[in-house]
């Protein structure tokens, strides 16, 4: 059965080539039958890649060690769930997953647009097929998932223990979904540039795709941070590692894009900027993949280093050059009369927000590649770690949070001082009051004071917006507060979903600041019955329990958590040892509350003294980082929720704009 895999991938590559040619020639010569066949080829390509991925999954689940990939990343004793996730535990499998997602998204786009946007869709599909050609080329010729072993081993080498964790089951697919779906707005942007159809139809067509991509990039980053928190056992969740940065940069640029397209949709401005941003966001996803694969920069997350770096870098250079050339070539057509009246306007706030977001993305990029630059220029290897990123990005984050409070409430076009005072008086008071309370509570670090004050200010602006909306509905329509709130969000889901996302960002920000500044750490070796005091808790070491199965050996410690002399819980941190990989791993015990997380790492028992060593962290408010992330996800779902009014409006615009083009397209052949 594994033999089907290579044939499916080879056939998929041919279909991808055909799809590019058919779409481009069909669109240029107005041969709609050819365009249709190009679309069908894309669907067939998707089917072939699906066959390939099913074959690899099946081989993993059946421990078919004739395949090099299966022998390298799984074992007989690996639990079935991790045999399934081993698909993205190695280089070839994760590239196959990437390619499969790309093909599925391309197929959905082809289906969604089979009767819409006839001028640009064939070119967008051709761009997506070109991307597929690159990845299929890698899978067919450079990093083949279906290579056979010379001698079939009795057992596989097993999956890296750090990847045998449930967060690893969902973190990479979420991130890949975010990365790959960014290629849809990119493809439509490129198609708009190729065809010269530069109105905002490409933005409207791909708006949900862009939000979908952002949603999964958010979740991908969040799940990755949670994985680091639970698995790496250092009490933190973000170390500014190059691979973390690689996932963060597209998120930042995509966030900037989602804000600036609002200006184009509303005022027909910033066309060049939006096209540049979506190009950059997509190129950063490729850059991230390059970083993960190439090993050019050392990273704790690079589980799949290989010689793919030069291929990715070349492809990235080609994509970036071609896209930039297209953009420059269309500059004249993209110029529109700008309508801008005042710095005290939402347009200005959004543009400064864009500057800060892209600025942070640049700072992260710069810090990530600086070791390479240093080595090239001075021949000295240096490290650019958390202190650099914290110092550079810390102040920028404050500015961003401030703009997040100002942007949504300030008027479009122009605000007066009186307007501003009326809108921002209450949130400002809330912010200042919070700052004062924080200072009185004894927290005097300037960053913490500013961060908490700004967070409260933004919360104030969000609450004010909800309060105004609910009050208006209650007075005008006579609804109850709860009903008014539901209807307010349902009828203006883009706007209020956006506020929910902002709420999530603020909560996550508070969690990040508090957990970064006030984490308490205690490391102690104790005998059975001894206790460790951490903040308000007393941790009593009750002893250990060991267990063993063919896959993993475990030594689990039992800790009783007491507070004010009362037992609260028993925590079970453990030390694991994976037999096949001969590697240890840590199981962190976690007791999470909205106030703080109690986090216990068991380092092991000294056989000579009988003492067990524990590392305990008490991290305040970190709960809100995860809660904020999930609220951001909820807000994004609200934003993406189908809105009947909006759909009707888009359909009307698309109908009006495309009827003529559709007729012209269909005239020679027709579907």
């Amino acid at each position: 059965m594994p033999l089907i895999g290579p044939f499916a991938l080879a056939f998929a590559l041919l279909l991808a080539f055909y799809s590019v040619l058919a779409n481009v020639i069909g669109a240029r010569r107005r041969l709609s039958a050819l365009v249709v066949s190009g679309r069908h080829a894309l669907w067939a390509m998707s089917a072939m890649i699906t066959v390939a991925i099913v074959v690899l999954w099946s081989s993993l689940l059946h421990s078919d060690f004739t395949l090099h990939y299966v022998a390298s990343y799984s074992s007989l004793t690996l639990p079935p769930i991790y045999k399934f996730t081993a698909l993205w535990g190695g280089q070839q499998g994760s590239l196959l997953l990437w390619t499969w997602l790309l093909s599925v998204f391309s197929s959905i786009v082809a289906w969604q647009n089979r009767r819409r946007n006839p001028e640009i869709t064939p070119y967008a599909l051709a761009v997506l097929a070109v991307l597929a050609i690159f990845f299929l080329g890698m899978l067919n010729f450079v990093t083949r998932p279906f290579d056979l072993v010379a001698r079939v081993p009795g057992d596989g080498q097993d999956l890296n223990p750090l990847l045998q964790n449930y967060w690893m089951a969902i973190h990479p697919p979420s991130l890949y979904t975010g990365y790959v779906s960014a290629s849809v707005p990119f493809a439509f942007g490129a198609a708009a540039l190729i065809t010269g159809k530069l109105d905002d139809s490409w933005i409207r067509t791909t708006r949900r795709w862009a939000i979908f991509s952002w949603f999964f990039l958010t979740l991908g980053n969040l799940f990755g941070a949670r994985w680091a928190y639970e698995v790496l056992g250092w009490g933190g969740y973000w170390a500014w590692d190059p691979v973390e940065n690689a996932a963060f940069m597209p998120w930042l640029v995509m966030t900037a894009y989602l804000h600036s397209v609002m200006i184009q949709e509303r005022k027909d401005m910033l066309k060049v900027w939006n096209l540049a941003l979506i190009g950059l966001a997509f190129e950063l996803t490729l850059f991230g993949t390059f970083l993960t694969r190439s090993g050019v920069i050392s990273s704790v997350h690079s589980f799949t280093q290989s010689g793919l770096g030069p291929y990715f870098l070349t492809f990235l250079a080609i994509v970036a050059s071609a896209y930039t050339a297209l953009l420059v070539g269309r500059l004249k057509m993209l110029r529109t009369p700008a309508e801008f009246e005042s710095y005290l306007s939402r347009e200005a706030a959004f543009l400064f927000n864009n500057l800060v977001l892209v600025g942070i993305a640049f700072a992260v990029f710069w810090g990530t590649i600086f070791p390479v630059i240093s080595e090239a220029v001075r021949g000295v290897k240096i490290t650019v770690g958390p202190p650099f990123f914290d110092k550079v990005n810390g102040p920028l984050a404050l500015l961003l949070i401030f703009l997040m409070g100002v942007g949504p409430l300030i008027a479009w076009r122009r605000s007066t001082a009186r307007n501003l005072l009326r809108t921002f008086a209450a949130p400002l008071l809330i912010g200042l009051g919070t700052g004062l309370c924080v200072a009185l509570a004894g927290l005097h670090q300037w960053y913490v004071l500013t961060a908490f004050s700004l967070a409260a200010f933004v919360l104030g602006t969000i609450l004010a917006e909800f309060r105004h909306g609910v009050t208006a509905r209650r007075h005008l329509v006579g609804e109850s507060s709860a009903r008014a709130m539901v209807n307010l969000v349902a009828k203006n889901n883009r706007r209020y979903g956006g506020y929910v996302i902002h709420l999530g960002v603020v909560l996550a920000f508070v969690g990040i600041v508090a957990s970064s500044f006030f984490r308490l750490e205690v490391k102690r070796s104790v005998r059975q019955g001894d206790s460790i005091d951490v903040g308000p808790y007393e941790l009593v070491y009750l002893g250990t329990r060991s267990s063993m199965d063919p896959h993993v050996e475990s030594l689990q410690a039992r800790i009783e958590v007491m507070r004010d002399g009362r037992p609260l819980a028993v925590m079970l941190p453990a030390k694991l040892f994976y037999a096949r990989q001969q590697q240890p791993a840590t199981v962190v015990a976690l007791r999470s509350t909205p106030l703080h997380d109690l986090y216990v790492v068991f380092a092991g028992v000294d056989e000579a003294t009988g003492q067990a060593t524990f590392q305990v962290f008490l991290t305040p408010l970190v709960f809100w980082l995860w809660a904020g992330g999930l609220i951001m996800a909820l807000g994004t779902v609200i934003v993406m929720w189908p809105n009947v009014r909006e759909r009707a409006a888009i359909a009307a615009v698309v109908r009006a704009g495309d009827e003529a083009a559709l007729e012209a397209q269909m005239a020679p052949g027709g579907e």
Partner: protein, 164 residues
């Protein structure tokens, strides 16, 4: 009398200066306090391969970070400052042990480039804004704010009623 008036004139700035000196003194008094092991360890990268700082190394029995932390503790006890301790480790292991680039020579580029780029971006944005705003007719004698608000409110009311 002139002397009295001049002393009054300098009273407020003098008080401000004293306040600033007190603040500065407090800052330096704080800075002079012994550094903590973590504050020094945060400035050093663990060489065990964990990719984290010595303060955050996730191997409780790490062969690099554990002895380094012990050394830091001893050096603090000897009265050495954070900078002196970090410099001692830089001399011993080379620049790769520092968790952030130094702020001199070529490494200064690492620190100033991001802010420089943002400053240039900001300046460009302001230039573009100025170009957009110049020659832009201000809104047709924009209804004075109260009338505008009233008109807007009427429209909003209509829309909300329609929605409901």
């Amino acid at each position: 009398m002139p002397p009295a008036s001049s002393s009054r004139r300098f009273r407020a700035p003098g008080a401000l200066l004293l306040f600033a000196l007190a603040l500065g003194g407090a800052y330096y008094a704080r800075a002079a306090v012994k550094p903590s092991v973590d504050s020094v360890a945060e400035g050093l990268t663990c060489q065990c391969g964990c990719g984290l700082t010595v303060a955050n190394c996730n191997h409780p029995q790490c062969e690099f970070s554990v002895p380094v932390r012990d050394q830091i503790e001893k050096m603090i006890a000897q009265g050495r400052s954070r900078e002196q301790i970090i410099e001692a480790f830089r001399v011993k292991y080379g620049e790769k042990i520092l968790s952030a680039p130094t702020t001199s020579g070529f490494n200064l580029l690492a620190w100033i480039t991001p802010f420089g780029v943002i400053a240039i971006g900001g300046a460009l944005l302001v230039m573009v804004f100025s170009r957009w705003t110049s020659g832009q007719p201000s809104l047709p004698a924009r209804l004075d704010e109260q009338n505008f608000d009233a008109a807007l409110r009427r429209r909003l009311d209509d829309e909300v009623r329609k929605d409901a």
